[in-house]
């Protein structure tokens, strides 16, 4: 009853078919482009059509439909006015999710950026740079779900007297303390989940900032050094201002990612103990409880919250580029 290789064949066949079909479409487009001097508009249309079609069917229309659904009841058929929005700002669970999401967004980006910046400053010009940065990037390869497992294990609780299996409680016990239920005690448990998120994000910040630091012209720092500036001063007065655009991009990217964070909460606490966030609450309402309208309203809220950050990000990136 172990791994059944035969059962995998249809999947791989389907993969093959999918890729082949896609290749056929792409070839057709390229063929049409090669055929003589296609008019500008026609060429643009040919190249843009697949993407525009997908965006319309996959994002634009569904987004509008979700907006409409947010004004309907649980089944998604009957008009419910602003009920779901009223619910969102009166229900305990939804309010807690809102509070936690704000805490996440306020804390995660600065925390991971500071860690990433310190680390980047230390390793940016070192010989072991690539290796050192990889260490911090490993959590990203492990995935949010994996990170959830990692931290659930770190926070594991065993009653007093029993052997601790969680690292954090072991440390507490080693220093003579009582083991604590890190993931249970609200609201501090939100902080412990945030630590897990920071853990996954710091590597991203470090890599980007290390790149930016290396991009600071050496003449600038050398000139300052000759003028007698200490390395601390150089960092604050020259390096930091030079990498400001990158810092902004990193902060915004992490804020956007944090708004949508769902996996860590789902894996570590399942939203219990008042640790829910909007992205997770939305999933629960729409899929676990069958409350389509409430789920849609939460999705719309997420959309409204994230919009200014993304808009800013797009602008910041265009400027940085």
């Amino acid at each position: 009853m172990s791994f059944d290789a035969v059962a995998q064949q249809p999947k791989l066949l389907y993969l093959l078919q999918g890729v082949a079909a896609f290749a056929a479409v792409v070839s057709l487009i390229l063929l049409a482009l090669h055929r003589g001097p296609v008019r500008r508009r026609a060429a643009a249309l040919l190249l843009l059509a697949p993407a525009l079609l997908l965006l319309t069917v996959g994002i634009l229309l569904p987004g509008l439909r979700t907006l409409a659904l947010s004004f309907t009841d649980s089944g998604g058929d009957t008009w419910a006015g602003f009920d779901n929005y009223v619910w969102m700002f009166t229900d305990h669970g939804a309010l807690v999710a809102l509070r936690n999401t704000l805490a996440w967004v306020v804390l995660v980006p600065p925390a991971s950026t500071v860690v990433g910046l310190l680390y980047a400053a230390a390793v940016a010009r070192s010989r072991f740079r690539t290796f050192a940065l990889s260490l911090l990037l490993t959590p990203m390869a492990i995935s949010f779900v994996g990170a959830g497992v990692v931290w659930k294990f770190v926070y594991a609780y065993r009653p007093t007297g029993a052997g601790q299996i969680g690292l954090l409680n072991q440390l507490v016990v080693a220093f003579g303390g009582e083991p604590r239920q890190w993931l249970v005690d609200s609201p501090s448990n939100v902080l412990f989940l945030i630590v897990a998120m920071v853990w996954t994000q710091a590597g991203f910040a470090a890599v980007l900032l290390a790149g930016a630091i290396r991009g600071v012209p050496a003449e600038l720092t050398e000139a300052a050094r000759l003028d007698g500036a200490s390395s601390g001063q150089i960092f604050l007065r020259i390096t930091l201002p030079s990498i400001r655009p990158t810092l902004l991009v990193v902060l915004l990217a992490q804020a956007i990612g944090t708004f949508k964070a769902f996996d860590i909460v789902k894996t570590v606490t399942g939203g219990q103990f008042d640790t829910g966030v909007i992205a997770h609450e939305m999933y629960d309402q729409a899929f676990r409880y069958g409350e389509t309208g409430r789920g849609a309203a939460l999705a719309v809220l997420l959309f409204l919250l994230v919009t200014p950050f993304v808009a800013h990000q797009v602008r910041a990136r265009r400027r940085a580029g």
């Binding site: 009853m1 059944d4 290789a5 035969v6 059962a7 995998q8 064949q9 791989l12 066949l13 993969l15 093959l16 890729v19 290749a23 792409v26 390229l30 009841d73 649980s74 089944g75 009957t78 419910a80 009920d83 009166t90 229900d91 305990h92 669970g93 609780y157 009653p159 007093t160 239920q181 993931l183 249970v184 005690d185 609200s186 399942g270 939203g271 219990q272 103990f273 008042d274 999933y283 629960d284 309402q285 899929f287 676990r288 409880y289 069958g290 409350e291 409430r294």
Partner: protein, 443 residues
């Protein structure tokens, strides 16, 4: 196209290699049958057909199910494709919405079954199944699978939740006797506490379902204090969730579970139960660090390997007493089969599952309780199963289904569980009950 072509080539090579490597080999298709097919003749032959089943049960429970219907499958030619998933509650909705509904689902919550029935997704049972249901189960039980007068499924599994597990030896040593009334229960509790042992142990950690053991406690006590009518009104929201009588029941539970003198035996302060998984919560009973553990009949499977269950063995169980010795309120739960398809083979399989034959065969394989009137308690694998079946078949029993399984999902598997967790964590009774009441969907 160099890059793309190379990538495509790599993909194709990979796929071809993988396909070629998977040389066809018989992947353990069922061994030739030697079963006696006579009992299955009534289900007719459905060669080459397949029935997909989706349920919550996994591991050993799933294996036992499959063993039980193996003969049925061989004799009828139906390939039963069973899949157990711990995320059943969330995934069933997604599968149905996503167009990949199973042929048959085992619903652990009537509330969930009702949702799909109302959405027009479930197929009403066939006449054959309806007849079996009428013959096999009480009107109460069939009522849980009935929506607007139409029967959509049949009970498959039953469990009795109102059990209190204890160690007979510990009770003897401490001079405690099995209580027959609520007053006696509290006397035993106090006596154990006075002797320096925390009388109760509990664990409510169960991932996303964390909190459900507390909701069972509250339901059990409400049923005992106010009787079946008030209980039914509360479950169907004819009286508000935060009715004073419910508050009273919660406070009674709180006087036990939220009381550091009474709980959490073997683990620490009462609040520790939030981190203790429900599976391991009863173990201190064995070591004498805790006198009693209130948990369902299925807890029999969760004792450490080698634990003997019986009136004179390591652990045994008594029914959580009612107000007086004569009353016999029993809180229970169950799993219901319901079909998303009505092909003949699906009908045949559902009919088989609704038969007392299936229940009896399943019981012979291992721990299992059915509320079917046709099951023979003698087939029960454990003394607790036998006790459960006797209770379920006893006409004096006032059976009520686990309320959280009947409430709308956003309450029953949502705010009620979460509220219970907050409450154990120290939130006030009134505040928690009010908040759950507010969360009740208005439609």
């Amino acid at each position: 196209m160099r890059f793309g072509a190379r990538l495509a080539l790599a993909v194709i090579t990979l796929a071809v290699t993988a396909t070629a490597c998977g040389t066809p080999q018989d992947s353990g298709s069922r061994s030739q049958t030697t079963a006696d097919c006579a009992p299955y003749a009534r289900y007719a032959k459905h060669p080459g057909t397949e029935v997909t089943v989706y349920a919550e049960n996994r591991d050993r429970e799933a294996d036992l199910f499959e063993e039980t219907w193996a003969d049925f499958a061989d004799c009828t030619g139906i390939d039963v494709r069973y899949e157990g998933d711990g995320e059943f509650e969330a995934q069933i909705q997604l599968r149905v919405d996503g167009g990949s509904a199973p042929d048959l689902a085992f619903f652990p919550q009537p509330g969930l079954l009702e949702r799909f029935a109302r959405a027009g997704r479930l197929k009403p049972v066939s006449a054959g199944v309806a007849a079996l249901a009428k013959q096999g189960w009480s009107a109460d039980w069939n009522g849980y699978a009935t929506v607007d007068g139409t029967l959509y499924g049949t009970p498959l599994v039953a469990n009795v939740k109102s059990f209190v597990w204890y160690s007979p030896k510990f009770f003897r040593d401490k001079g405690l006797s099995v209580p027959r009334t609520w007053t006696e229960l509290m006397a035993v509790t106090e006596k154990a506490a006075a002797s320096g042992v925390k009388p109760w142990c509990a664990g409510i950690e169960s991932a996303e379902a964390t909190g459900w053991p507390v909701t069972d406690w509250i339901e059990d006590v409400l049923l005992r204090q106010q009787g079946t009518d008030v209980y039914d009104q509360w479950v169907t929201h004819k009286i508000p969730f935060n009715d004073p009588r419910v508050i009273e029941a919660m406070d009674t539970v709180g006087s036990i579970l939220k009381n550091d003198r009474y709980a959490n035996g073997g683990f620490g302060p009462a609040r520790s139960m939030a981190s203790i998984s429900f599976q391991e919560a009863g173990t201190p009973v064995l070591s004498g660090d805790c006198a009693m553990h209130r948990q369902a009949s299925f807890y029999a499977d969760m004792w450490p390997e080698g634990t003997e269950i019986g009136p004179d063995d390591d652990v045994y169980t008594f029914l959580l007493p009612g107000a007086d010795a004569a009353s016999r309120p029993v809180l229970g739960g169950g799993v219901f089969t319901a079909a998303f398809a009505d092909r003949p083979e699906v009908r045949a399989f559902q009919e088989y599952l609704a038969s007392a034959d299936f229940a009896n065969a399943r019981m012979k394989k291992g721990p299992f309780v059915s509320a079917n009137k046709g099951v023979d308690p003698a087939n029960a694998a454990t003394p607790v199963d036998r006790l459960s079946i006797q209770l379920l078949q006893d006409p004096r029993t006032q059976f009520r289904f686990d309320g959280s399984d009947l409430m709308p999902a956003s309450v029953g598997v949502g705010t009620f569980w979460r509220g219970a967790v907050d409450w154990i964590g120290g939130a006030g009774t009134r505040q928690v009950a009010d908040s759950i009441e507010r969360s009740w969907p208005s439609h």
